[in-house]
């Protein structure tokens, strides 16, 4: 079967769509590579946190209060340990906390993005293919939700879900509630993009042909239309991942995210802010820098991916 990919030809090297001159593009190329390396590096570090972390920040047996508030790279007078990024007030190694923290942050962000992708893509496919009342209802709900900032939706969903869970299980359920809240708050972007692309695809000959030989609508959507939407969905998913990382950090910073026993980057920043005025800058600075690098690199990758795959998507993403 001739696959009709609904994407313009990739921009040729000498006439890129996004930049007027080749010189700037070369510079952007390096930045993109750096972002890619950084993002992959941070993700790998999070994935292999237990192997890379010099200490286990959650094992009380390895903590020594005498090591508390150690500045970076200074051997402790009591235990003679050296801490790359210093320690917090309880003697936890900041570097190890960051490794484990990015792990929590990225797990939540990936799971939430996957959830919004699942909800949004299904809603968008159905909406675009069915049309009529179904389309109107789904899109009205998406529009209504898009009116409100995602962080507010996530907070509300989190609060409500927290109320539904019995008090004893609230702490263990918090991560799941957080994933649900963030995932739910981001689905409309997926739905909108997928609906638009489905509207275009369903008018194509291959869909008409499939319908003629009696393929069921569900099968047309999943096996024929869906593969052709991979490009736009990948773009939204990458940008959505960056948004989810920021959203998770914000919620945890506000103290409504993951429980303090499993700190994410946002929780670490929340803790570190308490020491902002007393001079222990490293407790705040290193988690904050990690979050900035993670958010920036993933965001940049999403942007570049969008430019490379589909210039028409560039407008109207917010």
């Amino acid at each position: 079967m001739a696959v009709d990919i609904n994407l313009p030809a990739p921009p040729s090297p000498d006439r890129p769509a996004s930049t007027p001159s080749g010189r700037i593009r070369l510079k952007l190329g390096i930045v993109t590579w750096l972002a890619l390396l950084l993002a992959i590096g941070l993700m790998l570090a999070a994935l292999f946190a237990p192997l890379l972390a010099p200490y286990d920040p959650f094992d009380p047996a390895t903590l020594d209060l005498l090591d508390g508030m150690m500045p970076p790279m200074q051997p402790s007078a009591f235990t003679e340990k050296t801490f790359l990024f210093g320690t917090d007030n309880q003697g936890r190694d900041v570097f190890s906390s960051i490794l484990y923290g990015s792990r929590v942050s990225l797990t939540v962000a990936f799971a939430a993005t996957f959830l919004s992708l699942a909800i949004g893509v299904s809603a968008g496919l159905v909406s675009g293919y069915a049309g009529g009342v179904t389309d109107a209802v789904i899109m009205r709900v998406a529009d209504a939700q898009l009116t409100f900032p995602t962080i507010l939706i996530a907070l509300l969903v989190f609060g409500i879900a927290q109320g539904l869970v019995p008090a004893a299980e609230q702490e263990s359920a918090a991560v799941w509630i957080l994933i649900f809240a963030i995932g739910f708050s981001n689905w409309p972007q997926f739905a909108r993009t997928v609906r638009g692309a489905t509207l275009v695809e369903k008018r194509r000959d291959y869909v008409a042909a499939a319908r003629l030989i009696g393929v069921s609508p569900a099968r047309i959507l999943v096996t024929h239309i869906l593969p052709n939407l991979a490009g736009p969905v990948l773009v939204i998913a990458t940008i959505g991942l960056a948004l989810a990382v920021i959203e998770e950090a914000t919620l945890s910073y506000l103290g409504v995210g993951v429980p303090p026993t499993r700190p994410s980057l946002g929780t670490l920043i929340r803790i570190g802010q308490q020491f902002l005025f007393s001079g222990e800058w490293w407790i705040l600075a290193f988690p904050a820098a990690t979050l900035v690098l993670l958010a920036l690199s993933v965001n940049l990758l999403g942007d570049r991916l969008r430019d490379a795959l589909n210039p028409r998507l560039r407008d109207g993403r917010r």
Partner: protein, 327 residues
Amino acid sequence: MTGFVLRRIFQSVLVMLAVALIAFIVIRFVGDPLESLASQETRLEDRAVMMQRLGLDRPVVFQFASFVRRGLSGDFGISYKQQEPVTRMIAERLPATLELALASAALALVLGGLLGIHCALKPESPLTHFIMTVSLVGVSLPTFLIGIGLIYLFSVELGWLPSFGRGETVKLGWWTTGLLTLSGWRSIILPAITLSLFQMTLLMRLIRAEMLEVLRQDYIRFARARGLPQSSIHFGHALKNTLVPVITVAGLQLGSVIAFAVVTETVFQWPGVGSLFINSVQSVDVPVMAAYLVFIALLFVVINLIVDILYYAVDPRLRIARGGGET
């Protein structure tokens, strides 16, 4: 015109009813309203009496109707945590949030406008490239980090500005204002900048894009050909015609500013509605959450309504286009 306005008002009422329904369901079914009032010693008979008094034994539809009726008269029940009327708690904290939101909206409009105009008039200057890059980095950073960064720079290192609170406030009737004291003005600077950054970038990029578009139009070329002075072309012709969409977006963003204030208020311990909401989410204080939901929704619906009607009044083309239904 009246038909359109009536239809929009009807839609808004529908939206508000839907939000009220969500708020009602949350209050009624998330956590037991009775459990929050009764103690362990409350006898079963007393519970039954309480249930009757609260109307919890009646059909749910009636309960919803009475919820809406009480909501219309401004009664959203008693906070589980503070044992205070929710409406009064929100009213007490509203001035702080509104002052912060207006200050940052003004900041965003003025600075975003100036930067946007600069970027449109001098698209190739190094300053423009710099502004555009910084603005991209700015939107990708979480708001709370920018706030912490400002605190670090201006409160910790330089010691110029306070890092939390509203400073001294003055009571004007039920309204408490921080804008009449020096410490109040000093306190609002950092939170207002933090809150305005996102909107500022948005407005700047919008003004730049719109103005570049307008500058390409024939009447601008004609104005140049007539030999009008640059400033009159740029500000009299080009800027004036970019303002309509900009004002719309700025109006719509005012609601977002108040909603975004949730984060900023927490960073700067600003005693506003947003921090009240965060506390209620943390402690699962359902009536406060529900009332905040209704409050924010009302805000958005009213702003949307006003902007729509204004747009309709300003742009005659919409009156024809509206006939065919909207997408």
